[in-house]
């Protein structure tokens, strides 16, 4: 297994306010998340704002340190990686961010942006780096001449290609893609999604694809993990997402996707309420207040992920009733 995550948590202490008030609340952004990613596999991580999906990605990249839990990546524990960060992690794990306008340094030429991870990693001559940069920039569909330009000379989609080139320059095993196409126009989104699929196939790179867009996740991911309020509530094959999802939250997310079909207008199954504060988590199941299936038990016992077979895991007391339809 390329990546094994066990019981990962990230808790933040938040001051209640007032200069003399030392009391704090605990915001449980990620609260006990376990999953794995195989080599060359794409795991989609889906959820709404406040679900903790981006925090998970940041912890894998060591941009945020976990409160507790363990991460084993490519056979090495994260403790080890933390001490040998550059050599061990940067060469194997990379990231592409959502906003192609904010994530590229506007004062650097494209050549330097793409070469940066290679230079930081060390061990390559100038000539080797120049050659490698030339290869990846063509791989993402730009031209070698473009390396002399600055980010502002490119459109959003082209900038995201530059971000992808930078990520693949070190030939990583794993890329965290944090909403990589959400800021792009629809006509350009498909180009970048196709590029990511091609690159994954050619280089056998595993992805953690973090997104709120179910249609794109269904398309690009092999498996999907759905997060709600800091927990994974369901994991299943992306081909099963549409018809075999069981968790009432997953089903509500699916029902809320506006279908581009004017003959199939549906808004009768609208999820009520909003995601509660991660500082005041409800007792029992975190989804209980919004759930149409909720019974007394859901307000007392917190459900854990249970195996439904064929890699399908659900955290719901009523999973069997719902799965039977």
């Amino acid at each position: 297994m390329l990546l094994e995550v066990q019981d990962l948590t990230k808790h933040y202490r938040i001051a209640r306010g007032g200069i003399l008030n030392r009391a704090t609340d605990v915001l449980k952004a990620v609260d006990g998340v376990s999953f794995h990613v195989a080599a060359g596999e794409t795991l989609g991580l889906v959820g709404e704002s406040g679900s903790g999906k981006s925090t998970v990605g940041q912890m894998l990249l060591l941009q945020t340190l976990p409160t507790s839990g363990s991460v084993v990546f490519d056979g090495e524990s994260q403790e080890y990686l933390r001490r040998n960060f550059r050599k061990s992690l940067m060469g194997k794990m990379q990231v592409v961010f959502q906003d192609p306008y904010d994530s590229l340094n506007p004062k650097m030429r494209v050549a330097d942006i793409v070469a940066e991870p290679l230079r930081n990693l060390g061990g390559k001559s100038r000539e080797e780096i120049v050659e490698a940069v030339g290869v990846v920039i063509e791989k993402v569909g730009l031209r070698r001449e473009d390396l002399r330009k600055f980010p502002h000379q490119f459109s959003g989609g082209q900038r995201q290609r530059i971000g992808v080139a930078r990520a693949i320059s070190v030939n990583p095993k794993f890329i965290v893609l944090d909403e990589p196409v959400s800021a792009l126009d629809v006509s350009v989104q498909a180009q970048i999604v196709n590029l990511l699929v091609e690159i994954k196939r050619e280089f056998q790179i595993a992805y953690l694809f973090i997104s709120h867009n179910l249609a794109i996740v269904e398309h690009i991911a092999d498996r999907v993990a759905v997060m709600y309020l800091g927990k994974i509530v369901e994991v299943l094959g992306s081909g099963d997402l549409h018809h075999r999802a069981v968790h009432p939250y997953t089903r509500a997310l699916i029902a809320a996707v506006p279908l581009p079909d004017p003959r199939n207008v549906k808004f009768d199954t609208v999820l009520k309420g909003e995601i509660p504060s991660a500082m005041r988590l409800p007792a029992g199941c975190r989804f209980n207040a919004r759930c149409e299936h909720a019974q007394q038990r859901c307000f007392q016992d917190e459900p854990v992920l249970e195996d439904l077979g064929e890699g399908h895991h659900v955290a719901c007391h009523f999973r069997l009733t719902i799965a039977r339809g």
């Binding site: 709404e48 629809v186 498909a190 506006p258 004017p262 609208v270 909003e274």
Partner: protein, 334 residues
């Protein structure tokens, strides 16, 4: 479906911006009509001119560099573009109102929700309503947008609410004077999908109960299909296709519309690879002389790059703008 009465007629609207790189023709000759009770979707990507169109007809262009240089916006026999600023203020927020992508644009952070709604009602009622009836109306509309416990909400400040709740308040503020027309500029784009579904249902309910006409600006084909009756597709400052919602989805005529639909992944139908549209969105400063879409169009011929394409009628009201005589998939006109 008969649309009895035209409530807004936009004709040849042009809005240009002076920029350091040159003149940007953000809206370059846009015409459409909006009927009573109709929801017209204006669909386009960034730089298509869809939002500038909305701001132009309300004469609320942000910044100083933009100006509407031509066209008419007829509302009950009056051209909104030639009214005085005072007359326009009476219409804006009263008979025509607007909601934006970011609800903070319409809300003042230092007043409570209740105070802001009361002020809006009082301004447009011109002292004709008693304090009690203003208060009653505020609470009724907070309930209408499905905010729980309106009396409590009215005393809260915007920062005490979530994005979805603020957008509900912004909708209440836009609708509280019972406008004939609601201009909605990407009102659900910044919201989570479950909250988006709630807001869309809310807008549909309000429209059906009050007969409001809605001009709905969006980039999301799914949202358009779920809400609109008619669609105007914009590209590079112009309407390239204008059709009834079902006819548009059954058979998109403009190659841009067809490409947009194909490249949009549909949930529940996995494909091996997506049909990506070629190229990048147009640079409005360096538009070619022919069709603005020609460089990305899979069916572009030599003429498309030289001459502006003609308007082709679909029926007496609807059209597309293209050299292909039957539209996408068809052959070039002789």
């Amino acid at each position: 479906m008969p649309h009895p009465e035209v409530v807004l007629e936009v004709d040849g609207l042009k809005t240009y911006f002076d920029t350091s790189r040159g003149l940007v023709k953000a809206v370059d000759g846009v015409s459409f009509s909006l009927h009573r009770g109709e929801t017209l979707g204006i669909v386009g990507e960034s730089g298509s001119g869809k939002s500038v169109t909305a701001f132009s007809l309300l004469r609320a262009l942000p910044g100083l560099s933009g100006r509407t240089v031509a066209g008419r916006v007829m509302f009950h026999g009056e051209n909104l573009l030639t009214l005085s600023e005072e007359q326009m203020r009476r219409i804006r927020g009263g008979r025509i109102s607007m909601i934006c992508q970011n609800p903070n644009t319409s809300l003042n952070p230092v007043f409570t929700i209740g105070e802001q709604l009361r002020e809006t009602v009082a301004f447009h009622a011109d002292g004709k309503l008693t304090d009690a009836s203003v208060r009653e109306r505020v609470l009724r509309w907070l309930g209408e947008v499905q905010l729980p416990a309106p009396e409590v909400q009215a005393k809260r400040y915007p920062f005490q609410m979530s994005g979805g709740m603020k957008q509900r308040v912004a909708i209440a503020m836009a609708l509280i004077c019972e406008p004939e027309i609601l201009v909605a500029d990407e009102p659900t784009t910044a919201l989570d999908v479950t909250i988006q579904a709630q807001i869309l249902r809310l807008l549909r309910g309000v429209r059906d109960r009050h007969g409001t006409s809605i001009l709905f600006i969006t980039h999301d084909l799914g949202v358009v299909a779920q809400l609109c009756d008619t669609v105007a597709v914009m590209y590079a400052g112009r309407v390239v296709e204008y059709n009834d919602i079902k006819a548009l989805f059954d058979r998109p005529r403009h190659p841009y519309t067809a490409g947009l639909m194909r490249s949009n992944p549909v949930f529940g139908s996995r494909q091996d690879s997506l049909h990506a549209m070629e190229g990048q969105p147009p640079d409005l400063i360096a538009l070619s002389k022919g069709c603005a879409f020609a460089s990305r169009c899979p069916q572009a011929g030599p003429r498309c790059r030289e001459e502006a394409p003609p308007k082709v009628a679909i029926d007496d009201r609807h059209f597309f703008v293209c050299w292909l005589k039957d539209g996408a998939g068809g052959t070039h006109a002789a």
